[in-house]
Amino acid sequence: MQLERIDAYRWRVPRHGGMRTDGLIFADDGLIRDLEGDQAVQQVANVAHLPGIVGPAIAMPDIHWGYGFPIGGVAAFDEQEGVVSPGGVGYDINCGVRLLATPLDIGDVRPRLKQLVDALYRTIPSGVGASRSDVRLGRRDLERVLRDGARWVVAQGYGSDADLEAIEANGSLPGADPECVSDRAKERGGDQLGTVGSGNHFVEVGYVAERYDATVADRLGLAPGTVTVFIHSGSRGLGYQVCDDYLDTMLAAAGKYGIVLPDKQLCCAPIGSPEGKRYWGAMNAAANYAFANRQLMAHYARQALRTVFDDEAAARTRLVYDVCHNIAKHETHDVAGRPRRLCIHRKGATRAFPPGHAELAPQFRDLGQPVLIPGDMGRYSYVLVGTEGAYRETFGSSCHGAGRRMSRHKAKQLARSRNVPKELEEQGIVVRAATRATVDEEIPEAYKDVARVVDVVHAAGIGRKVAQIKPVGVVKG
């Protein structure tokens, strides 16, 4: 696949064959080299084949080989002529990250770190098909979760209105229609609310290690040494099943509407078609489930803080922000100098709206939207804010994480003769995991260095660095 260098951080996949537009990849030389030998660049080109695409098919510096869309992909579609694609959102609908800032300093937490990580491990179920016996949603409550998202959880007493203000879309996306979610999906989601899952999902205790913009960091409650809790999870089995169900619908729809697909996983339907509308209703319902899931997990994280520290530690733990990174949304963007309604697909990419954007809550209006970029479990994570550059160039989007560079198989082989939790403990990081397999597959070396990914984002102007957070405790599934 041909790649043309545009500048130090941008590469073009020139339009060819059935592509309707160019591809645009944000990466430096090293990150581009990491893509050799896999199909990620081809996947960028494949996305450019879809009808109604506006602007280039974009990939963030954490791009890696996915299925259908690459992970780290952003694509905008015209609301009238464009398509909506479950493969452009992913199986884990509204997989996302939230960051909590506690009132505690790392110096206070270190002596009780193991207790805190153990308490989080006990309080928030993780691992394969993790379920909660205390939160078993009946059909009516599940439908409320699907319709109202985090708002429903707060109404049950788990959190506050201040939490909702710090969630993308206030934790509740309009357009959710529980009727469009199959019984199978509802069955898979009934007892998984408030659980982490496995794979790359986690709950992580960290502290603010470095600050690049002290003013913004202070406004976000990220003083030097502040102890934080990152939560990374999504819509669990419910979302996986919604995607699976609608891939079938969309495969049939693509044939019906004469859409030529370079990869079946890109199957899609016109946004305004009956198939497109039903997927929209189901996808937003699953996204709301994910917001509710992370809200409930945050409640349990506060409970763990209460157990190990005190009521004040729990009560003064604030939500910094919560972002989706697998989602499609209707947004208005300037295209060729005029505002245009578009359907933005972000698959492994984060919304990064600039200062002044009307959709941001008042406390973020002059800062720009917080962008949360978790790294691997051994190094560091970052907090950024959205920029005008992102709004102009990437439909208000930024990267979402480090991005894998090594297959799980290879990572496992590498970890086989090692004791990874012990290695991390020697670095001051306590790990609790449901299975050894997950820890081995998630070794830090399996990921790109997130600092390099974030540096490309910062240098290219599609996000601005605010603070670095270092991990001290990790709960994996």
Binding site: D38, G127, L251, A434
Partner: protein, 129 residues
């Protein structure tokens, strides 16, 4: 004779299935999926669960079959041992004998294609994990 072999894939898990016939691919897929779920632990064909055939071509039928096997595990902790005439044999997950390895989110359509030649049937399936 059926076989499966994991092949490199950066983020997810790809497996190449081989068999003498279409039905054999289901068995190879079940064996691969079981290894992903619980490693090499023994799973007894003690009970049967029906699976309704779905899909208009061999590739879609294979993906749906494996998706349904995964659904049985995700909702009822039913581990697959082998393919039966009308579904799948297996037994419920037993924590004293089985160790869950990872969550498999889905059986994807990405690059999936059942092919056949004089040597038999072949398919590559990518599991989202």
């Amino acid at each position: 004779m059926t076989s499966y072999r994991f092949v490199p894939h950066t983020a997810d898990i790809a497996v190449e299935l081989r068999a003498q016939n279409e039905r054999g691919l289901y068995q190879a897929g079940v064996d691969a999926l079981r290894e992903l779920l619980v490693g090499t632990a023994t799973v007894a064909p003690a009970q049967e669960r029906p699976i309704e055939p779905r899909g208009g071509d061999p590739t879609e039928r294979l993906i749906h079959f494996l998706s349904d096997v995964l659904y049985l595990y995700d909702t009822g902790r039913f581990l697959p041992a082998g393919v039966s005439a009308s579904g799948v044999y297996g037994e419920p997950f037993d924590p004293t004998r089985h160790e869950a390895q990872r969550e498999v989110k889905a059986v994807t359509h990405h690059g999936a294609e059942v092919e056949s030649d004089e040597r038999g049937y072949r398919a590559t399936i990518v599991f989202d994990v």
